[in-house]
């Protein structure tokens, strides 16, 4: 609106309040709320089915409400599954401790990470299914095929059956540890590297060393990262599903049963919907409890994680360690990396044998080398599945970024009332840890009756919805950790939204890259969402791999070839973006 008189033009120009907040009721424009609308709509893809599942869990077969369905937990099979799921949580916690100690060692012995880093990243990049395949190959029961069995037999004359009753746990835990340890070490290491030098010098000057230093300095400082790492691992542990399916031979599957699998079998054999829903709710309750504890742990931090917007001057970093320390670090790092990379070598070497040779003998055999297994895998529809997977992952990542960025902006800077911000954040935390089982069945029915069954785009949308909570939480933390002056400046500019976005793009690229890369890799490697929601018909890579692996050792060449093909893209992606991803993830550890 303007005024004009005698050639003089007056215009009223509004200006955003900047600087210190002053007491009083702030103006809350409704406009920014629209930014959250797409996220709300997308989240409904999960929220409504979750609601349906919860209602079904509390609905007795006769239609009345009550706890009757939870009697399913008295079933010995279900009880065993709960016990195993809890055991997996213990495994995850143990892995966090081991990872932390490894990170400490690698921090004190620089030089170690030169080799260790790539060796640790590759397992994280490949899917759980691929790592299961690899460890099943390594622990195969015949001395001709199985690496460990062969070594054991030549040392002691005979070997235990590693995949047999009881011992299969060793194989499962090895595969799980191989996948996740790199992630744990990398994040802890990034956290240790970010401890400001003056702080550690002060502590050292006060004569605090050893365990006391650990308790006084590193543990409290790493609290936010510990929270993120623990949360991720516990969620992964409770969601263990495909690993058991592919590693454990049929007769032992009952002993290895976990809640997720128990739910799937119950749903598959047509048990009443209420009972399976009750199982889903129990699974969810366990994960949610862990998540809530984890997030509380995050909130109680004493120091915020330092975020280096400006790269530190290399001249000011830690003093170089002694030559001896570097040499020890180098040697240890080299040895550990060799062991850590061995499973990947086994997989690739197996794939390079003909199907016949791979079925008969181990990866070290020199006969039958060639690309026959790859050709056989290509015949099993691998290329089509590859295209399918590229499409699903790209669409999911794109949709996720387009929706998560404005939402995270809204939560971080949109001026939401404090309580609403907390509610939204908590809702996203809960959604982030919700197991697929909570929404799979209703969602599958809904997609089916909408005539979208088998649509890759529908599957991609479900993936985007499932990835949204984590992405928003990560981006929100990144946005919120912006130096306020920077944002204020951006807000005052004439084209403020775009300026803010430009600033965000410049400053928070690591978080954006982390979200994009992790979502792409997660969707690429996904088995459970595709399996439970779309059925095996949508043919993403992991499902083809799963189909091939049904007759495991006789088709190990083909399976290994398919696994290698399936792993190339995520491995290259994560290896090239890993430092950025870790930066993005550690920025996001602020709740």
């Amino acid at each position: 609106m303007g005024l004009q008189s005698n050639g003089l033009s007056l215009e009223i120009v509004g200006r955003e309040i900047s600087g210190r907040p002053v007491p009083g009721k702030p103006r809350r424009p409704a406009g920014p709320y629209l930014l959250g609308l797409p996220a709300l709509l997308l989240s409904c893809l999960l929220l409504i089915p979750i609601g349906v599942t919860v209602v079904a869990a509390f609905t007795r077969p006769d239609g009345s409400f009550g706890l009757g369905n939870f009697a399913v937990m008295g079933d010995p099979g279900a009880l065993r599954a709960v016990g195993n799921s809890l055991a997996w949580i213990a495994v995850a916690l143990g892995l966090v401790v081991v990872g932390f100690l490894l990170a400490l060692v690698s921090y004190r012995l620089p030089g170690l990470s030169t080799f260790l880093q790539p060796a640790l990243v590759i397992p994280f990049a490949v899917s759980v299914l691929v790592s299961g395949v690899t460890f099943r190959l390594i622990f195969d029961a015949t001395p001709e095929r199985g690496t460990v069995t062969a070594v054991w037999t030549s040392l002691f004359g005979s070997s235990p059956v590693w995949l047999g009753p009881g011992l299969f746990w060793l194989v499962l835990v090895s595969a799980f540890g191989w996948t996740w340890l790199g992630y744990v070490v990398s994040l802890f290491r990034a956290g240790l590297d970010a401890i400001p030098d003056d702080v550690s010098r002060t502590v050292a000057a006060e004569g605090v060393t050893g365990w006391r230093r650990l308790l006084a300095l590193e543990l409290p400082l790493l609290r936010p990262i510990t929270g993120v790492v623990t949360l991720t691992l516990v969620i992964a542990a409770v969601r263990v599903f495909d690993l058991v399916l592919i590693v454990v031979p049929g007769p032992m599957q009952r002993d290895a049963d976990v809640l997720g699998l128990n739910w799937w079998r119950a749903a598959d054999t047509g048990e009443p919907a209420g009972r399976t829903a009750a199982l889903g709710v129990v699974l969810f309750a366990i994960v949610a409890a862990v998540a809530v504890i984890g997030v509380r742990g995050l909130r109680r931090r004493r120091w915020a994680m330092p975020v280096s917007v400006v790269r530190a001057d290399p001249a000011l970093t830690r003093s170089k360690p002694s030559r001896r320390a570097r040499r020890i670090g180098w040697t240890v790092g080299f040895a550990v990396s060799l062991i850590w990379i061995l499973p990947a070598v086994v997989l690739v070497a197996t794939a390079l044998h003909s199907p016949r040779e791979a079925g008969l003998r181990g990866w070290w055999s020199l006969d039958g080398l060639g690309f026959e297994s790859f050709a056989a895998a290509a015949n099993a529809g691998l290329l089509r599945a590859l295209l399918s997977t590229v499409l699903i992952s790209s669409v999911a990542t794109l949709v996720l970024l387009v929706i998560a960025v404005p939402t995270a902006y809204l939560v971080a800077w949109g001026g939401l009332p404090h309580w609403l911000g907390r509610v939204v954040t908590s809702a996203f935390v809960v959604l982030a840890v919700t197991p697929v089982q909570m929404y799979a069945a209703p969602l599958r029915d809904a997609i089916g009756s909408a005539g979208l069954a088998g649509s890759r785009v529908a599957l991609a949308l479900v993936h985007a919805a499932a990835g949204l909570p984590f992405a928003v939480l990560l981006l929100r933390s990144a946005f919120a950790s912006a130096p306020p002056a920077l944002v204020a400046e951006a807000l005052q500019g004439p084209a403020r939204q775009s300026a803010v976005l430009a600033t965000v793009q410049r400053t928070y690229r690591p978080a954006l890259v982390a979200v994009a890369v992790l979502e792409f890799a997660l969707v690429w490697n996904d088995f459970i969402v595709g399996f439970l929601i779309s059925g095996p018909g949508t043919t993403p890579l992991s499902l083809v791999l799963w189909g091939e692996a049904r007759q495991f050792s006789s088709s190990s060449g083909t399976v290994a070839a398919a696994a290698v093909v399936a792993s190339v893209v995520p491995a290259v992606l994560l290896l090239s973006f890993w430092p950025t991803v870790v930066r993005g993830l550690t920025v996001g550890s602020k709740p």
Binding site: A141, T142, E144, L360, A380, L387, V390, R456, G547, E548
Partner: protein, 417 residues
């Protein structure tokens, strides 16, 4: 490395574009005829070669490998309804007939063939057509081992036990057992039951609520089976190894690593046998021997039947018609491991033998029992009971068998109720 990253992104965009333009059904939007199958790896490839041999079709065909979840193809919770299901459990046809379309009239007679009519024809309407027949009473062995020990393939159950004993005395493990696949164990038991008491088998197969634990002949069959499995030195690698090996692994044990003499495996094991055999000429087959002198040799039959879930399309009917043509399956027969219903020519010598037994008059033919027991035959039923049974008796001698049979019957009773 900004250049390489950009190049990578560019390349993936190009792949994506190619994927969308080249095969529009990647998007899942074009309507194709979807065939649900339970096959994987070699069998799946062989089926693709059958499809390729059909010539040009007016509609795209998509094969959906459902694996063990094939029965979900027409379940109420199915998201991905196929137009044609290659059902490996013909026993499920009567149960699901309200979800199924009847077969076109000109093909209906094919479903009325001997044995198949019991399952595929309900109230005079044909709901399925046999596509692939499985002979589940075959034992593959290495003739050289038996020759060397001066033995002949057994023609009677007691002779088989004797052969096993002689072999293990001379230091050769007679039997490889792929106990990692539940159906290997149930097939074994079904053969013994069908051989020892055909009426009991028939009664259990036909019962609405089968209670095998109440049939004394069923317990007798378990005891017979226990006699073979419990004999020390019979199972190659011992019980634990047996539990982790699937049926192809058992075949590799016999023909690849040559650590055992024989293995119970259906006709469709043929490609596995041939591709892993160390000596391609050292392959022999005998059929499951009669249990008692004068008794008929048991022949347990399985197979995949084509069924059309409701509602069907003209395209799906057309595809069934083409697949039902006798010449359609020639590529698979050439690849090996395929028996077509009623056909006795064109196979390898081993499979010809099996095919002839299937059409021989007076043979004691019955469909796979575990498919017809419903939940009792599934993973938590007979499969687990037999796995536990094997664990209790394997390699421990016949003394432990009676107790193990009692426990197995008690376990079965729990599943039955």
């Amino acid at each position: 490395m900004p250049t390489s990253r950009r190049a990578f992104l560019g390349a993936s965009a190009a792949v994506l574009a190619a994927g969308c333009s080249g095969t529009p059904d990647v998007l899942g939007l074009r309507r194709s005829v979807r065939i649900a199958v339970s096959w994987s790896s070699e069998e799946l490839r062989a089926f693709h070669s059958v499809l390729n041999g059909l010539g040009r079709l007016d509609y795209p065909v998509e094969v959906v490998p459902l694996g063990d979840d094939i029965s979900t193809a027409f379940g109420p919770r199915n998201a991905h309804r196929p137009d044609l299901v290659m059902l490996p459990q013909p026993g499920l046809v009567p149960e699901h007939k309200k979800d199924l379309e009847s077969m076109p009239d000109d093909l209906a007679d094919r479903g009325r063939a001997r044995l198949w009519d019991e399952l595929l024809v309900v109230d005079g309407t044909t709901y399925g057509l046999p596509f692939k027949t499985a002979h589940k009473s075959a034992v593959w062995y290495r003739p050289s081992v038996l020759d060397k020990a001066g033995l002949k393939p057994p023609t009677l159950w007691s002779e088989w036990l004797e052969v096993n004993r002689s072999l293990s005395f001379s230091g050769i493990r007679p039997l490889a057992l792929g106990a990692g696949d539940g159906w290997v164990l149930t097939d074994f038991l079904e053969n013994v039951l069908l051989g020892s008491s055909p009426p009991t088998y028939q009664a259990l197969a036909a019962a609405a609520h089968p209670r095998p634990s109440e049939h004394p002949q069923f317990a007798a069959a378990l005891r017979l089976l226990g006699t073979m499995w419990s004999a020390p030195g019979t199972l190659a690698g011992g019980v634990k190894r047996s539990l982790v090996q699937q049926f192809p692994d058992a075949i590799v044990e016999v023909f690849g690593h040559r650590r055992a003499a024989m293995v119970l495996a259906p006709d469709f094991a043929e490609p596995v046998v041939r591709s892993f055999a160390a000596d391609p000429d050292d392959i022999g087959i005998f059929t499951f021997p009669p249990i008692s002198p004068g008794g008929a040799a048991p022949v347990v039959v399985g197979g995949d039947v084509m069924v059309l879930p409701k509602p069907t399309t003209d395209d799906a009917r057309d595809l069934v018609r083409r697949l039902a043509a006798p010449a359609a399956v020639d590529p698979w027969i050439t690849a090996g491991g395929f028996l077509a219903d009623g056909r006795v020519t064109g196979y390898s010598p081993e499979l010809t033998r099996l095919a002839k037994q299937l059409v021989a008059p007076g043979a004691s033919l019955q469909f796979d029992l575990s498919d017809r027991l419903g939940r009792l035959g599934a993973m938590n039923g007979l499969w687990h009971v037999l796995t536990d049974f094997l664990e209790r008796i394997g390699n421990r001698g016949s003394d432990v068998v009676p107790d193990a049979v009692e426990i197995a019957l008690a376990d079965l009773k729990k599943v039955e109720s």
